[in-house]
Each structure stands twice: as C-alpha cells, then as structure tokens.
C-alpha cells in the first residue's frame, strides 16, 4: 500500500541569476487508492511541485520532506525514484531523437520491474496498451516523442503509466492542449490505471476542472502562491469552475507570473 507524504516542502528554481523560491511549504498526504487533484492558476507552482517530486535538476528543495512509505524520496536519484514506484507524466514530454519508442518502453519496463519482460508477453502487453489508447502500432518504431502532436505525446505518457504501473503517479497537466476526443481517451486511460492498480495513488495536477468530469477525485486542493490554500471534496472543483481562482490569489502574489 503506497503512501506519499509531502511535508512542509520549500523549493526554488535555479535560474541564470539567483535561485527563486517557488514553493513555500506544501503539505499533502496521498494514500493508496486515492486520487487527489491539485488545481491552481498559472504560475502558482503546480508544475514545480511535480518536477521537485520527480527530481528535475533545475529545482532545488530548500527544506521539507517527500516520503514514499516512509522512505526519503529526496535522497534518491531521479531513476531510483522511478524504480521505487514514482511516475511523472510530463506536461511537455521530451523528444529523444534516434531512440525508438519500443526500445525506450522496454528499457523503462526492464528498469522498473527489475527484469526484462518476457518478449512474447511484452509485445502483446504493449500492443494491447497502445490499442486501448488509440495509438497506431507504427508509433512503436518512431523516435520517442519526435514529431508527435501534443495529443500524441500525452497519450504516450499515459501509455507509459499503464506499462510501468507506478505506486504513485503524478500527472502534470496531462489534460492541457487536448481536444474533446483525446481528453476522453486520456481520461479513460487514467481511470483504467486506477481500477487496475487499486494500491496506487494518483496526483492529478490541472489548470482546468474539465478533466474532473471524467476522473473523480477524492480530494481537491487549491494551489496558489506556492502552497495549498484550501482542500476539500469534488465540490471545490465545481466552485472553481464557476468563480475562478480570484478568491485564492494571495495578495503579495498578484501580478506575479
């Protein structure tokens, strides 16, 4: 049973000049089987939280803790975090020219599962997962994310989610830039993951409440000014949809990006 605990997390982004504080004390506990949504306006620090949890080198944790079942995630390297069961579906998946999707997926699955999947079952598994997400088989031989449309990239993030079966999945604006059909495919993929992996937790970071019509969260957190301003049930998302984020804008942050 997976539990992710984020305790008083402070994070700075490293810029050309001085490090800039983005997160100012984030507390959150995500338990197995739960789905939490983090909603917030642009520049509130949502993506910083996602990258900091995954260990992106541009982000520096200045204080606080991230624990996965009591294990210190921040002490782990980027790849160790993934092997411990963390997954980040990225807002902007990276293109890796010359590395085929199939090679990439198999390398990742081998690393996360601790052994190479048996070829015969693996091929079947990948084909099935691709077909669930309406991904054409020809993508397996294309370079990772290279020349993919925004929607294709997001589908491939969810494809990785379904094959790597993490214990904690952080989805960073997986819904942004998707048309209605693609949103449904991606949301179905997330729901399938949730039902097939009841021991896993999902942290869904989004700017819009639209995706929450397809994916029911247990808890909604409103994020602004680098911290959680309010937490509540799904009804909080409805309120945000109607009234926007104004109520939560911290005064000193007004006008910040």
């Amino acid at each position: 049973m997976a539990t992710l605990e984020i305790k008083d997390l402070h994070v700075s982004v490293l810029t050309e000049e001085a490090p800039k504080g983005i997160l100012h004390g984030v507390d959150l506990t995500l338990r197995a089987g739960q789905t939490h949504a983090i909603m917030g306006p642009n520049g509130s620090g949502k993506s910083t939280l996602a990258y900091a949890i995954a260990g992106h080198p541009r982000y520096e944790v200045t204080s606080g803790q991230v624990l996965l079942d009591g294990e210190d995630v921040l002490a782990m390297s980027v790849d160790e975090r993934a092997r411990a069961g963390m997954f980040l579906a990225m807002q902007y998946p990276v293109e890796v020219p010359g590395v085929s999707m199939s090679n990439f997926l198999r390398s990742a699955a081998t690393a996360v599962r601790g052994e190479a999947p048996k070829l015969r079952t693996w091929v079947k598994e990948v084909k099935g997962a691709m077909s669930d997400l309406d991904i054409n088989e020809s993508f397996a031989e294309r370079s990772v994310n290279e020349g993919f449309s925004g929607g294709e990239k997001k589908r491939h993030e969810i494809l990785q989610l379904s094959l790597l079966r993490p214990r904690i999945a952080v989805l960073d604006e997986t819904d942004s830039g998707l048309d209605v059909d693609a949103l449904r495919v991606v949301a179905d993929g997330v729901n399938r993951f949730r039902s097939e992996n009841s021991d896993s937790g999902v942290l869904l970071i989004t700017h819009y409440s639209r995706i929450l019509r397809h994916i029911d969260p247990d808890t909604v957190h409103v994020f602004a000014g680098g911290r959680i301003m309010e937490s509540g049930g799904p009804e909080l998302a409805h309120e945000l949809e109607e009234h926007g984020y104004e109520r939560f804008a911290p005064k000193q942050e007004v006008g910040a990006r």
Binding site: A54, G55, H56, P57, S77, V78, D79, R81, A82, R83, F87, L88, M90, P93, V94, E95, V96, P97, G98, V99, N103, F104, S107, A108, A111, V112, S143, V144, Q160, L164
Partner: protein, 393 residues
C-alpha cells in the same frame, strides 16, 4: 549552440561561408601536384592546416621517410581482381592528384600500391575487406590503395585501419559509368597512431558512391576526402561518424566539387566528443561550378559534446556559381548533452549510464540507419558500444 541553415536557389550567385570566409574558388581549382617540393612546408597559419596540431604530425608534413611498412591484407570474393603494382602503373592517379604536402609525400614515398578491380557488370557476393595494420610504434609508413569499379560494377568495400605508428596514404576510388560503390573506412587505431589520408573519388556517368568514414581510435587522424563528378548523373553520399576521447584530434576535410550538371551530393557527419582536449574538426567545402546546373546538394555536421574540455570546430562552406540548381544547403550544430533528454529517460527508471548510451546511440542512429549493409552496420554499432563502454558513458 549554433544552427545555420540555408537554401539558396535563387538566380543570383551565392557565396556562403562560415568561419574565416576562406575563398572557395581556390578549393575547387586548387593547386595539385605529385611533387612534395611543390608544396611549402606548412607552418600552421595556412587555412588548410590551421586546425591541425603540426607538432603531433611526427614530421609527416616536413620530410618524414618511411622506416617501416604497413601490413595490408585483402579478403575479397573471387570476382574481384587483386593486384600489387609498382609506382609506374598507368592507372594510378585516375582518381585524383595530391592537394597537400602530406598527400604528395605519401605519393612519392610508397613502394607498392594495392589495386582492386571489380570487372564490368560484376557484383561480387559479399564485401571486400582491406585490413591495414600500422607499421608499429614510432615507425613511419606510406601507402596507396586504388579501388576501381568498371562500368556497371557493384561492390562493398570495407577498409579497416588498426595498429600503431604513423601512416600517410592516398586512396583512390574510381567509379566507371553506372558503377555503385559502398565503401566504409574504419579508423580503429591504437592510441599512439597518427593517420593522414587523402581519398579521391571520381564518379563516371550515373555512378553512385556511398561512403562512410568512421573515426574512433588514434592520437591524430586527418582525412581529406574529395569527390569529383567526371560526368553528369553522379550521386555521392558521404557519411561520417566519429568519437573523440581525451587528447584525440580527429579531423575531416571534405571537398565535393560539382563541375558537371545533374549530380547529387549529400553529406552527413556526426561526432561525439568526450574528455579533456578531445578535438574534432570538420570542414565541408561544396563547390557548384557554373556548368553544374541541376545540382542537388546538402551537407550537415552535428557534434555532441558529452563533457567539458572538448572542442568541436565545424566550418561548412558552400560556393554556388550558377542559380540553375535543384537545391543547396548546409547545417552545422554543436551542442551539449541534453539534460532534459537525460531527465526524461531517467524519470522512467532508466539508470543514468544507460540513459546516456541511449541518447548517444540515438544521436548516431541517423547515420547507422543509412548504412544498407547489415554486417557493416552491426560492426559500427558494436564499435560505438565499445567506445561508450571505454569512456564509461
């Protein structure tokens, strides 16, 4: 990181050069001679020598004399005629004439040349392998090789360099009308080796050349391939792949001379550099002469700097004397290892060393995909693998 792309195709005359802005006209109509003394001893200030560390050339550019011999062994299908000929053989020089002092030195100094002929309309079953073994540590040797494909002949030739010592050579590739030659040169030298080579490819009507240069080993390797289209319809693809480690100097200087109409050339060189004072030099000169209407050419050089302390010089030059061309362009980029790619792969659990390998392999993938001969491709994949292993990437 610099990126330059250009697609001149207008009616005006275009001269497009990076780096020093050296005049290309002198490259196309450059001075050539078999006579060593017709060339001044380079000082390092000359355009064609300014990147080369002359003090590491072991006097090849001055008046080095042979102290040993390189071993040459040939493994060829029966259709291929293999000869060892003396200096006076009239066929020598059909490919081209030396354009610098070291090439002239090598031409004046070899005692016997190896000559491989594929008779007209023959297509040998399997590749020809030429293995050249250096003369040994602190020894100097000169060599000469000519590969001749008669009309409509087709062949795959792998030229493998290994061993120690200093070796200067001329390699001529003479393609008859409609001939198709795939040639792969592998520089897999020991760490002490100094190798200076000039290759001259001369293409007959509708001849097709697929050349790949792979430079991995050696202390200093300098290669100067020249492609000359003797008749219309020629098609040359020059691929290069190099991996420079600590203190290595790997230099490629290409000249593609479009002197006749309707020929095609495509150049793709990619290099990875790692370690202190790893240095690569790529000079790509393409000249489209006034008569060369309908020319289609593109050249590309990409360098991947894996660590600090490595240096890649890249100078594409394109000179166009006619507007009546199908296309001409070039691109050159030199960039650091992409941390975002590394992060992405690692975020999926792939350990750092393996992720780096995937990225480097991917970088070279574009070249490997174009190598049509599976045995050659596998050989190169294995070589890259060994290189990555050796540097602990």
């Amino acid at each position: 990181m610099t990126v330059t792309e250009s697609q001149p195709g207008g009616p005006e005359l275009v001269s497009h050069s990076h780096g020093t802005g050296a005049l290309l006209a002198s490259r196309g109509l450059r001075f050539t001679s078999y006579d060593v003394d017709a060339f001044e001893v380079p000082t390092g200030r000359e355009e064609e020598w300014r990147f080369t560390p002359l003090r590491r050339l072991r006097d090849l550019h001055k008046s080095a004399v042979a102290t040993g011999e390189a071993g040459v062994s040939i493994d060829a299908p029966h259709e291929v005629k293999v000869e060892t000929v003396g200096r006076g053989d009239p066929r020598l020089g059909d490919g081209g004439v030396p354009a610098d002092r070291v090439a002239a030195q090598a031409w004046s100094s070899f005692s016997e040349a190896t000559l491989l002929t594929v008779p007209a309309e023959q297509r040998p079953d399997g590749p020809v392998t030429v293995t050249v073994t250096g003369p040994g540590r602190d020894e100097v040797a000169f060599g000469h090789l000519q590969v001749r494909l008669e009309q409509f002949a087709e062949a795959v030739v792998v030229i493998d360099h290994r061993g120690s010592g200093s070796y200067a050579e001329n390699v001529e590739l003479v393609l008859g009308d409609g001939a198709r030659l795939t040639v792969v040169g592998v520089q897999d030298w020991a760490g002490d080796a100094v190798h200076v080579a000039a290759q001259y490819a001369r293409l007959g009507r509708d001849a097709v050349l697929r050349a790949t240069a792979v430079s991995l080993g050696g202390n200093l390797v300098r290669q100067s391939p020249t492609v000359t289209f003797a008749q219309p319809g020629g098609d040359a693809e020059l691929l290069g792949l190099y991996f420079a480690d600590d203190g290595q100097h790997l230099e490629h200087r290409l000249l593609v001379d479009h002197a006749v109409p309707h020929c095609k050339s495509n150049v793709i060189y990619k290099g990875a550099l790692q370690g202190e004072n790893a240095h690569s030099v790529w000079i790509g000169d393409v000249l489209i002469q006034a008569a060369a209407e309908g020319t289609d050419t593109f050249e590309l050089n990409r360098n991947l700097l894996l660590t600090d302390g490595a240096r890649a010089d890249s100078v594409p030059n394109l000179e166009i004397e006619t507007g009546e061309i199908a296309g001409a362009g070039h691109a050159s980029t030199t960039g650091r290892f992409d941390d975002e790619q590394l992060f992405y792969l690692r975020s999926r659990g792939i350990p750092e060393d393996q992720a780096r390998r995937l990225v480097v392999r991917g970088f070279f993938g574009e070249i490997l995909q174009r190598i049509a001969v599976p045995a050659v491709r596998e050989r190169l994949e294995a070589a890259i693998e060994a290189e990555l292993e050796a540097v602990g990437a």
